[in-house]
């Protein structure tokens, strides 16, 4: 019990990560994959933030009365990682837009079929 409750942050992170990971691998819809990717990455951010927590610590602000504060370094790291994550999402979404314009669908299996059969939705014809 202690093993589960005492480290609940890890369990949450692992559960979220697996959900995201599953979506990235198993979903055929490109958007759903991206959603999974975001969940996956956010899980890792949570993990970082949770390991930065110091019991009874306050926000890491340089302030003359504070003696105990959370470790600020993971926060900083995660700020960077969030930027990375957002850029990744942006690139992925841009790709999806291009794919949709080209193939008229966001389902991976359909795209593969179109690629194989050579039949094409007229290019440059979204919506």
């Amino acid at each position: 019990m202690e093993f589960i409750a005492g480290k609940y942050n890890y369990w949450i992170y692992v559960a979220l990560m697996m959900i995201g990971f599953y979506a990235m691998i198993a979903k055929g819809n490109l958007i759903k994959k991206i959603i999974g990717m975001n969940v996956f990455q956010t899980a890792v951010f949570l993990f970082y933030i949770s390991i930065a927590k110091v019991r009874e610590g306050t926000a890491p602000i340089l302030w003359d009365r504070t003696v105990l504060y959370d470790n600020p370094v993971p926060h900083v790291l995660i700020l960077t990682a969030i930027v990375v994550s957002v850029s990744t999402t942006a690139v992925a979404l841009a790709l999806i837009i291009l794919i949709y314009r080209e193939f008229g669908t966001m389902e991976e299996d359909e795209i593969l079929r179109i690629q194989k059969n050579g039949s094409a939705v007229p290019p440059g014809k979204p919506e």
Binding site: A81, S87, V91, A92, E102, Q115
Partner: protein, 501 residues
């Protein structure tokens, strides 16, 4: 000034130029290339300077912003990464030279400024991965280069490239996130992100489950990134559909950087003892890389598209690089490291030539190369040299790597790896031999069969594309005939990694 700040300038120059290029592009589209060319040129010269300084004075440590190492970000240039750095900067430089004509043919004109900008970002990211001594900084650079890489692949006019890029993005992100998790675990138990510092702190914690988990995430993440069999699935499509210059650069540098990261984590952050005694990762890698070597070659034989064949051959060649590291002795490690350069030279040539052929004739299939020896004699000569080198013919670079790998295997009493290497050489000889034969002895489909006069008019690729390819092909020979220099660098790096083992 330049000398002192060279470590950071190597990266800053392309990074800042990446911002500059779109601005220049607004003024004049064609000046973009000049900026990119200047940036990669400077970067290459600086990396050469760093290599020279490391060879004469030893390790260089550069403190970014003047912060002390364990806290601030440190750039460390030692025998290992100065060597890899020069390789990447050199290929990047040649690729920019090559890109000028190639890009015009393969990328829509409006996208060209963006292309050069992203290309520079990509290079800056790769150089950053190599030069940094901070493990989180490594992650950031890894993502910079990866994101730029996805965009570069998607820049192709081929619509298949989009899905290839997307799939690469998904797998690449998984890899990067795994590495991020690994970093998190290491930070959790050590409180440090500096590689040298981690090296000092970790041995006491080698049996901690957290450290083991971290290592597991690292190995899977990096293996995915460097396309080690069986995690190579993203690579063939990505290389096949990307613009030629991108395929060339990625094959020659991106996977090499992955291998470099693997070595850094395995042998610098962790120590050899850990790899051998605690996790025995080396025996796993031994099996995987042997499988990669054989299957990469077998799959390459089955291909009909030139670039896809080269991509599968890359999978096999990555196997060589990892194999050398998993044998864990200095000889094999030397082979592995020198193969980073050697393979970059060979694969760079081959992809460049594939691009030349595409540019001139639009041919992408191996069957289309029949009789090409008369139409594009110089290109095909370079292709032949690189192909022979891939097969490990003596006096080419391919032989040097294989010699060291095989000798290293023997010295480690792993004699059964020698047949693996030799059989794969044979398979490589088969798929390149087949092509070389049809280049020179095949008849082009529309060819007339009579007369000793040339059947078709000679029609070479433009000089700007031909020169980088020929230069690389010549280097395949030069460093194969007189390998002492490159092997010397690789040996010093191997000694550094393995600590005299």
């Amino acid at each position: 000034m330049i000398k002192e700040h060279a470590p950071v300038l190597v990266i800053l120059v392309p990074l800042l130029s990446a911002v500059l290029v779109p601005l220049v592009g607004m003024l004049r589209n064609r000046f973009c290339w000049h900026v990119a060319f200047a940036a990669t040129h400077v970067s290459f010269l600086l990396s050469g300077l760093l290599l020279f300084r490391v060879q004469t004075n030893g390790k260089i440590s550069y403190r970014l912003g003047g912060w002390e190492p364990p806290w601030g970000i440190e750039y460390v240039i030692d025998e290992l990464n100065s060597f890899v750095l020069v390789t990447i900067a050199f290929i990047g430089f040649l690729a920019t030279l090559y890109a000028r004509k190639s890009v015009v043919a393969e990328i829509e004109p409006v996208r060209i400024p963006a292309f050069y900008s992203i290309f520079l970002l990509f290079l800056a990211g790769l150089l950053g991965i190599v030069i940094t001594g901070d493990i989180f900084n490594l992650y950031v650079f890894l993502e910079i280069s990866s994101l730029a890489g996805y965009a570069l692949i998607a820049a192709s006019r081929k619509r298949e490239a989009l899905l290839a890029s997307y799939n690469y993005l998904i797998l690449g992100t998984i890899a990067a996130t795994f590495i991020l998790i690994g970093i998190g675990y290491l930070y959790m138990v050590t409180g440090s992100l500096n590689m040298a510092d981690l090296r000092e702190r970790l041995p006491a914690l080698y049996h901690s489950k957290v450290v083991l988990t971290a290592f597991a995430f690292f190995s899977v993440g990096i293996s995915l990134k460097l396309a080690l069999f069986p995690l190579h699935v993203w690579l063939p499509n990505a290389y096949t559909y990307a613009p030629s210059v991108v395929s060339a650069v990625m094959a020659a540098t991106a996977t090499k950087v992955g291998a470099y990261v693997l070595f850094r984590i395995m042998f610098t952050v962790f120590r050899v003892e850990f790899d051998l005694e605690v996790v025995s990762i080396t025996s796993i890698l031994l099996v995987l890389s042997s499988a990669a070597i054989i299957l990469g070659s077998v799959l390459a034989i089955a291909q009909t598209n030139i670039k896809r064949m080269l991509a599968y051959s890359s999978v096999g060649q990555i196997g060589y690089i990892v194999l050398g590291a998993s044998i864990v002795n200095e000889t094999a490690m030397t082979g592995s490291l020198v193969h980073i350069l050697n393979h970059a030279l060979m694969k760079g040539t081959l992809f460049f030539i594939a691009g030349c052929v595409l540019y001139r004739t639009g041919i992408e299939d191996i069957a289309g190369l029949r009789g090409m020896g008369r139409r594009m004699p110089f290109s095909m000569a370079a292709f032949t040299v690189a192909g022979l080198s891939m097969a490990g013919v003596p006096l080419t670079v391919g032989f040097v790597s294989k010699w060291y790998l095989a000798l290293g295997a023997l010295r480690a009493d792993l004699w059964y790896l020698v047949p693996v290497i030799l059989v794969s050489s044979l398979l490589t000889a088969v798929y390149f031999g087949r092509i070389i034969e049809s280049i020179y002895f095949g008849r082009a489909e529309d060819g007339h069969s009579s007369g000793s006069l040339s059947r078709e008019r000679m029609h070479e690729a433009p000089t700007g594309m031909l020169v980088p390819a020929l230069l690389l092909a010549v280097l395949c020979l030069v460093f194969g005939i007189s390998a002492s220099t490159t092997v010397g660098y690789a040996e010093a790096a191997a000694r550094l990694l393995l600590g005299g083992r």
